[in-house]
Amino acid sequence: MLGSGIIKGMVETARNFVGSYIDENRLVTVEYPEERLPLKEASRNFPFLVYDGDDAAKGLRCVACQICEKECPPQCIYIIKDTAKKPDYIGKMQLQPKVFDIDLSVCMSCQICVEVCPFEAIKMDTEYELSTSDRFEGLLLHKEDLWKSNQYYHKIHPTEAAEVDARLAEEKAKAEAKAKADAEAKAKAAAEARAKAAVPVPAPTPSPTPQPVKTA
């Protein structure tokens, strides 16, 4: 019958219309900003820098190695190295960034910087309400705007952050064990050397010239 297809379609639309009052699956609209969906754990938006401890400037994990700057496809990271060094999480002296800027208006949220960073220093944020009326400065974030604590990282990506922490702790333990082993080996080598030195050559005799005795 001519028109039966249209009627079938109409029935379908009506079912959806009525269904939207009773069926959760058909009522999918979320009234942003009054309502918000919870973010997925994996969701990503723009990068931020992680710091450990309470002092952001001191605890910044970034060592200004500039790998991310080189790898970022649209080249939106800008780093200047500082001349002073500070110890990193395993106690090695490392450089730190003097300037670390990310231009969010250029960043395409690709996460390549996170993947290439060997120091777990840069991670993806989930903050998305970033609109600003200032087209140039407003979206150019500096080191001070970018650093966020490890606790914050744990809050937004709990699983990933826990993995990262475990990895860092493992590395640290390894480094410490290595340092200890190194120290022991050094001590042993030194002791051996001393022992070796002690056998053929007699211990140096006290100097013949007596120290001047302080008199009262």
């Binding site: 039966s4 379908e12 959806n16 999918v28 754990e41 994996a42 969701s43 496809p73």
Partner: protein
């Protein structure tokens, strides 16, 4: 002091003489520029059409408005660095773009994705196909004047799949997920259950969609025998994907190339026999149903294990000199990446064989003799994304 400013007259149409068979002027034809800011052109795309009354007598597609030097940029960034750019080719199907690119780099560097990664790739690619095909049907209907309803139903379902993508890759559309020799992250907890649920519910939506559209008389009147693409022309113009299969040619790279692990799945390749717009619509719905079969099996069989080849590396990736071509059956057709490496950190040559672009080249042949309103529908049925056409 006054300055004279000459405003260039922008001409959007011109009237040309119509020549009769004996060489004399018979009447007038109208040359119109459709687009680039025309809502029906799926982006910034222009068609210079010559109309005799309402009938199209000549059509010239003009593209390049969205050109952003993709290939040149890829040749100057690292191999990994152009992975996120491939997302932006066909921004509806970023995961299949990722796969095609990863596949050709894997061929170049001799990497092999592990079992689990292959399964993840199949699952995400087939989900992408569902998204693309249902939305395409929605857009096609929108081009016919069904403002919104079918498209919104398609978007409702697409949203669920995009949620899956977000939970897995972190982004809804620009996924940047596949890596050379595997995938970036493993599936999060509960993802497979969620995916199974969505796949199980999808046939119901397809039935609903078909109830709404497939037998609708207006749709039939607007699409049957419109924009017929003959078999020979389709082959000669190297058309691929649903467009080619709608003309009745059994050519699906998932069957022909058997890349990845596609030989393990049992599915059929739907074929049309008229090659008109209606066949192209129908093929897509049928392909969705076949994709669901693949998905059901893949979601049931996916093994545990590593997700990336241990030989793969993130920093300092330099494949040895050589060339490789990797192609997959993207939702729009054969998507291929041709790479030449000179041993350096970035490709010496990088070329994309974009299905939208090549499928668009026969637009004129399909449109001649039809009315302007049909041109819009025919263009809609080609399924183009300008990000991929212009690159």
């Amino acid at each position: 002091m006054s300055v004279e400013v000459e405003i260039p007259s922008s001409k959007t149409y011109s009237v040309l003489p119509k020549m009769g068979p004996d060489g004399g002027v018979e009447g007038e034809v109208l040359e119109v520029a459709m687009g680039p800011q025309h809502p029906s052109t799926h982006g910034v795309f222009r068609m210079d059409v010559v109309l005799d009354g309402e009938t199209v007598v000549k059509l010239k597609p003009v593209f390049g408005y969205l050109h952003r030097n993709h290939e040149q940029i890829a040749e100057s960034t690292s191999y990994l660095g152009s992975m996120p750019y491939t997302d932006r080719l066909d921004y509806f199907c970023s995961l299949t773009n990722n796969w095609a690119y990863a596949l050709s780099v894997e061929r170049l560097a001799g990497l092999q994705a592990p079992e689990r990664a292959e399964y993840i790739r199949v699952i995400t690619a087939e989900l992408t196909r569902l998204v693309n095909h249902t939305c395409l049907a929605g857009f096609l209907l929108m081009d016919m004047g069904a403002l919104g309803t079918p498209l919104m139903y398609a978007f409702r379902e697409r949203e669920k799949i995009l949620d899956l993508f977000e939970a897995l890759t972190g982004a809804r559309m620009m996924c940047n997920y596949m890596r050379f020799g595997g995938c970036r992250v493993d599936l999060p907890a509960g993802w497979l259950e969620q995916a199974r649920k969505i796949v199980a519910e999808f046939p119901r939506f397809l039935d609903e969609y078909e109830n709404l559209l497939t037998t609708n008389e207006i749709l039939l009147a607007r699409t049957q025998n419109v924009g017929v693409l003959p078999r020979e022309l389709a082959i000669n113009a190297s058309i691929t994907g649903p467009m080619l299969r709608a003309s009745g040619i059994d050519y699906d790279l998932r069957k022909v190339d058997k890349y990845g692990i596609y030989e393990r799945f049992d599915f059929r390749v739907p074929l049309g026999d008229h090659g008109d717009v209606y066949d192209r619509y129908m093929i897509r719905i049928l392909e969705c149903r076949e994709s669901l079969k693949i998905l059901n099996k893949a979601l049931a069989d996916i093994p545990a294990g590593p997700i990336i080849d241990p030989k793969a590396k993130i920093r300092g990736f330099r494949p040895k000199a050589g060339e490789a071509y990797g192609r997959i059956e993207a939702p729009k057709g054969e998507l291929g990446f041709y790479l030449i490496s000179d041993g350096g950190p970035n490709p010496y040559r990088y070329h994309v064989r974009a299905p939208s672009f090549i499928n668009l080249t026969i637009l004129e042949d399909m449109c001649l003799g039809h009315t302007v309103a049909d041109v819009v529908v025919i263009l809609g049925s080609v399924d183009i994304v300008l990000g991929e056409v212009d690159r």
